[in-house]
């Protein structure tokens, strides 16, 4: 194998960059390592197919800084995991799910834990490779056939020629003294490093192709398009149905949205009871409350409450037409404003109850229609309260219950 690897070195000088000594057992190399270290060498190494116990002490290797790298990576990983979850779920787009707190520590721990382990592991693995300066694919030792046994069953010491104490003869002698079976020089060929020309072209083409994706992205972000985006997987995005605002040529009026057939009545909308729904009995306005309305305190309370909500804004709490809207309009000197009616006097007092009902339902003059807002029962309740207001403004002392008269007099 190494034969085919050896290029013709006749044109280039070879020089010795170190010595290689082979040993057969771990004990032998351990003892030799002590001797080499005691002799004062610093640029040397031992090689073995497995880590030999005690070699760290023999060579004087100090504990590596790797655990600290791993710790730092772990802390960073944990903090990042936690920060990511907080920022993404609680800050940037608060994600409300099943009432759990946005940043809920128990639920955020699993991912934080995994992130810690992941980054610590990267620290251990890449830290180890980095500190060992691996990959280092080329090494003059690989030219030696002898050295191939370093990963098999033999042990080696290499001493670098750059060590200040290195002397080819003396160092060889020392290694033989320690019991090395073989001592070989390690040779290196000083060939100038040249990148083959094809690689230049390959690199150029690759770089050009690598520029294309970012260029496309930049171009796309800097420009606008009139066509819709490409939609590769349609799913159920386009369906054969007519949506409300679309045209539909099947119909004469071309509209997709259709009205119900004339005369269609929704459930619960068949209002046949004229008295209740329109305040009309026969051809005239109703003069009494319909049967569905029970005249009692409950209806009165409801009516009062509803009156305060809907009517008092204009007609005032007492029905005197001095509601806040009116006062405001006067203050602003609204030119088109017509004062709200006084409910307990004048024409309003004379009107039959059915006509009042009609007024609430459809509005009159400036007053809008309250029919859509107020359910039918509530309108009658309001009217009950209005009657009470009318009675209260036109009452005599005899109308007051006996026990309350004293307070008024």
């Amino acid at each position: 194998m190494s034969d085919s690897k050896k290029t013709t070195t006749t044109n280039y000088p070879e020089r010795t960059v170190g010595l290689l000594a082979e040993y057969a057992t771990p004990e032998a190399i351990l003892e030799a390592a002590y001797r080499v270290r005691e002799s004062g060498y610093t640029k040397w190494d031992t090689h073995a197919p497995f880590p030999v116990h005690g070699m760290d002490d023999a060579m004087g290797i100090k504990m590596t800084v790797l655990p600290w790298i791993v710790l730092a990576c772990g802390i960073f990983g944990g903090a990042s995991g936690l920060l990511m979850q907080w920022w993404m779920n609680a800050y940037d787009y608060p994600f409300y799910v099943s009432g759990k707190p946005l940043f809920s520590i128990p639920a955020n721990i699993p991912i934080t834990f995994e992130a810690t382990i992941l980054l610590s592991s990267f620290g251990a693995f890449f830290g180890m490779l980095g500190l060992n300066k691996l990959p280092q694919l080329w090494n003059p030792l690989f030219r030696s056939d002898l050295f191939r046994r370093a990963t098999d069953n033999q042990f080696f010491i290499t001493i670098d020629a750059r060590d200040p104490q290195f002397n080819e003869n003396q160092t060889t002698q020392l290694l033989r003294d320690t019991g090395a079976a073989v001592v070989d020089p390690v040779k290196k060929v000083d060939r100038p490093v040249r990148i083959p020309p094809t690689l230049h072209y390959v690199g150029l083409i690759f770089t050009l192709f690598a520029i294309i994706p970012p260029a496309v992205i930049v171009a796309a972000r800097a420009s606008t398009k009139t066509e819709p985006r490409v939609h590769p997987i349609p799913n159920m995005d386009w369906q054969a149905k007519i949506k409300p605002q679309r045209a539909n040529p099947l119909f004469v009026d071309d509209r997709g949205a259709r009205l119900p057939v004339p005369g269609t009545i929704a459930r619960g909308e068949l209002h046949e009871d004229d008295h209740f729904y329109r305040g009309v009995v026969g051809e005239a306005w109703a003069k009494s409350f319909p049967e569905q309305i029970s005249i009692d305190a409950k209806t009165m309370d409801r009516g009062q409450q509803r009156f305060k909500i809907y009517c008092s804004a204009c007609h005032g709490l007492a029905g005197d037409g001095q509601g806040m809207v009116h006062l405001r309009a006067v203050e602003r000197q609204e030119p088109t404003w017509r004062p709200p009616s006084v409910l307990f006097d004048g024409p309003v007092r004379q009107q039959p109850i059915g006509q009042l009902f009609n007024t609430i339902t459809h509005g009159v003059r400036n007053m809008p229609a309250y029919g859509p807002q107020i359910p039918t029962e509530d309108r009658w309740a309001i009217l009950l309260y209005v009657r009470a207001l009318q009675r209260s403004h036109n009452a005599t002392i005899e109308d007051v219950p006996e026990d309350l008269r004293a307070a008024l007099q």
């Binding site: 194998m1 085919s4 057992t25 771990p26 351990l30 002590y34 270290r37 005691e38 002799s39 031992t46 090689h47 197919p49 497995f50 880590p51 030999v52 116990h53 005690g54 070699m55 760290d56 060579m59 504990m63 590596t64 790797l66 655990p67 979850q85 993404m88 787009y93 994600f95 799910v97 639920a107 955020n108 699993p110 834990f113 995994e114 992130a115 382990i117 992941l118 610590s120 592991s121 251990a124 693995f125 180890m128 060992n132 691996l134 990959p135 280092q136 694919l137 080329w138 090494n139 030792l141 191939r148 370093a150 990963t151 098999d152 069953n153 003396q170 020392l174 590769p232 997987i233 799913n235």
Partner: protein
Amino acid sequence: MSDKQNTVDDPTRRPPLVTGEHDMADVTDIISRVVEMPPPSLAWKIAITITSLLTLNLGALIGYLVWTGVGVWGNRSPTMWGWPIVNFVFWIGIGHAGTLISAVLFLFRQRWRTSINRAAEAMTLFAVVCAGMYPGIHIGRVWVAYWLFPIPNQMSIWPQFRSPLLWDMVAISTYGTVSLMFWYMGLIPDLATLRDRATTKVRYFVYGLLALGWTGSNRHWHRYERAYLLLAALATPLVLSVHSIVSFHFAVAQVVGWHSTIFPPYFVAGAIFGGFAMVLFLLIPAREFFGLKDIVTMRHIENMNKILLVTGSIVGYSYAMEFFISWYSGSLYERFAFINRALGPYSWAYATMIFCNVLSPQVFWNKSARTNLWVSWIVSILVTIGMWFERFVIIVTSLARDYLPSSWGYFKPTWVDVMMFAGTFGLFLTLFLLFCRFLPMVALSEVKGIMPHGEDADGGHPQPRPPQPIEPSTAEA
């Protein structure tokens, strides 16, 4: 040489872990021969043909699934989780044995792990591949799977990190990545061995590239050993957390029979149990076919069977605890859930599970059963089946009959479920066969490290002595 030679329990000495009077060069030869043997044996060729066909079937079915939709599976109301989740948990569980052997047994200084850790770690990676496929394809719209990752998307929304499904995604990816790094790191010195023995240019180039220029330098070994220890110390809580997070899928829910606090350690023990069964299932034939009997010895088989018994007992303990507490809780639903498992429509699955998981490993109380290859292999198959059924019983019975009787149903798998699962076995075994063919199945450098050399009778190592002062140089220049 008797196979059982190193299974004798003699407290006065540690049994040899490499039998047959081999030295380091022999060990290198035995393992490397498998990789360097051209052409591969007929048995290997037949095996890989079958497994490749199964893998192709898997690919085709995945295509069919993505094209047609998740309805091709048996997942129906009320069992919205069916075989895909069962298979996922099954495969992930199997992967855990590899990490246990590599990391946990390393921390406990169990030297016998060195013969099996390489193959087990490889098995972990392939199991993770098979497992990780399922979450990827079961989501329905596979093309928007990127929404699971914290990368900006068109809705400016981020993943829901408080969900067990996201925890799972992070945990599985972390587990796969760390296992890959750990496995690769262990491979580096052995790839260097293969590089140095390479006889063809292609082999020299590929193994050389992958070996990163490893020279066996002790300065490198020092950092390597420290990194190995750190990765082992990290991988241990990792393996516990990954299967705990998988168990959270079920345990954080309010489904009866799922919501049980013992799930995390129970699932982890079950995973190791199922994983060791798979390691035995693979290695017992492998050591025969690849001539590894002196390295993966009967003592290794026996130790693995003991671990099978221990983890099986932990699983049995968990069954007992769940059963007792379900009664003790006084909850009508809890009590019903466990009676339903044993006596309901899936009692056949429950019986299989109990027989395979609780009863079959009990043979290993007996020493001759522990040291019998056929018994070991058959029990490993039964345990693998049993562990699949355990996940099936947990998932399907609790969903098929939960709180509201009007919602009860019966789950049936479809042919796609079954064939896809078979396909994952094809994928797993194809990858494993390729691994056997191209990479060293045993951790060469680690096995050499535990072989006897220079150890005294007590197993102690040469003690360091303080360095002596440097003698003045007397040699001539």
